[in-house]
Symmetry: C2
């Protein structure tokens, strides 16, 4: 009996596609026996697969003649490139051929195509994109990070409910702690959106711990931090910018004197140990929650290890009944 | 003739008040001949002054019997503590006795009191708090960072105009580059607020360079980055949180093996060189723009060096005619 879920993987999406994508799939198939459908231009995918010796039998290739570029206009590409790896992969999920779709491709196009081809879960007003933040050593998720630039208070409640179900089902967190990103700790702080969302969260059945501020984001204070898609996107990118800035400054400072270089070299393992904390790759890809199917969106620069993790997490999500939980939760969850 | 402007300084405001505040004032008086009115509880201020030997003749003490605590409810404190150092200092500006007011005290209370006692510049819809970001080695300002959680597009245009005038007058930047914080580079990206603000900025006489994203904030891409007070506040605090996180991780990593410690020690000067870039103290305090008087708000943890810089910058602002420029600019500047 073949009950292991099949994961459709966009072989053409990502800064290092198809090489790293196919390598991640091969590793997941070999190490975990994971069933992967590599969706992409057949000759290209087959040529990549050939580099890894005997093809594992749990890997299949599903042809898609078109590729959506990383910088293409999302909605247009999703609508017109009907034989792209993104659309073909999502259609497999829609038709029940695959249990989940994973892509490190054009985020906007994945979101647009997922909404177009899978639709929303009944009762969900807006799908939401989740960022995985493993900084503190345990996983915190931040959402929305860009699917919805303009939000209503009710959206934020639904985001929190979906992310809470995701943390419970996929990461086995009991009663996930949910916080609202705000500009002060007190209840009456913030924009009218934040104040109204606070009231909804406080009256929900979620484990709501109140407001957190920007400086709490890289800590383990909460399991779920909810905000609108504008603020969330700016926060994630600011964090990347700060990490880059500090690492570059450090590198420049070490290079500025010859005798620092030796000390810097001796400290390399310590630096690497720290960099690991900044590494999302153990956690793979963030879920797109609220569409009627399991979709995971990886970072553009995803390498084989990130893809391996994303596939593992996608399988876990499929086996966990997360989607069913989300479907049952709404709209009753709004009570 | 005594043309040097008098700066009123809140001796009681800040995490290290009155010690560091008074020390900063003494240094500014001695090194720059700066005229400072130390506003605060007379015995306390006089006792602190006594620690520095002979009092410079450009320092005076202005009595204020009350103190607004760092955690007090801002609007209430501003309204009721009429003999607090914040209110007394602002009243000196209002009455033309002082050219500017500097405080590292309760930010909310300073803003509330400034609006209450100084009022707004005619034509300005909302005063705005500016954060100084010297990360890239040159000064960039980000605003609004918390005065206005809910903004209209027109506010953002006025924020940009005021910050542009500030950079021109006080920091002598020719045609300051103004950017809009957004979640994508293209014109049509972002929330409806961002899209409408984009249109206003693009049609203004400012040197508008378009959208920037979160990752651009710690770079020198712009002189002025404008956003709403909710996003701006979250960004500034996220940057602080990330800097703390990375420095703590680094410290922990270096401590994790005895042989890293020696290398870490050798690298201390390099680390310190980097930390300097994160140091706002050279720039002192951010202006509260749009109120009818010069007000500068320092970080709570300001030390003597930060206060020294804040006083220097406040004098520069007074001499530069910045306030007059702001008064003339609006509302005609909206053209």
């Amino acid at each position: 009996m073949d009950t292991d879920p099949l994961i459709a993987l966009d072989a053409m999406g990502g800064d290092h596609a198809p090489g790293e994508i196919v390598a991640g799939a091969v590793r997941a198939a070999r190490d975990l026996g994971l069933r992967v459908a590599l969706v992409g231009v057949p000759e290209t995918v087959t040529a990549e697969l050939a580099k890894h010796g005997d093809r594992p039998d749990t890997i299949t290739v599903v042809p898609a003649s078109e590729v959506i570029g990383m910088d293409e206009q999302p909605a247009q590409a999703a609508r017109h490139k009907k034989d792209s790896s993104i659309v073909v992969g999502l259609r497999m999920v829609k038709q029940g051929e695959a249990a989940a779709f994973v892509s490190a491709g054009n985020t906007g196009a994945i979101m647009a195509a997922a909404i177009m081809y899978l639709g929303r879960i009944k009762g969900i007003e807006r799908p939401t994109l989740v960022a995985l933040m493993p900084l503190s050593g345990k996983l915190t998720v931040l959402l929305d990070v860009g699917a919805n630039a303009d939000c209503k208070p009710g959206y934020l409640l639904q985001f929190a409910q979906m992310a809470s179900a995701y943390m419970e089902r996929v990461w086995k967190v009991d009663r996930p702690k949910v916080a609202l990103l705000n500009i002060g700790e007190e209840e009456m702080k913030g924009s009218s959106l934040a104040q109204e969302a606070y009231a909804l969260l406080a009256n929900s059945n979620l484990n709501f711990i109140g407001n957190v501020e920007g400086r709490d984001v890289p800590t383990d204070i909460a399991d779920v931090i909810v905000t609108d898609g504008f603020t969330g996107n700016v926060v994630v990118k600011t964090m990347e910018g700060m990490a880059d800035f500090i690492m570059n400054q450090l590198r420049a400072a070490i290079k500025s004197r010859p005798w620092y270089a030796a000390a810097g070299l001796a400290l390399m393992p310590a630096f690497n140990q720290m960099r690991k904390k900044l590494d999302y790759r153990e956690y793979g890809a963030g879920p797109l929650l609220g569409v009627n199917g399991l979709v995971f969106v990886g970072h553009g620069p995803s390498d084989a290890r990130a893809i391996f993790s994303a596939l593992r997490v996608a399988r876990e999500a499929a086996l966990s009944g997360m989607l069913e939980a989300l479907r049952e939760q709404t709209p009753a969850g709004t009570r």
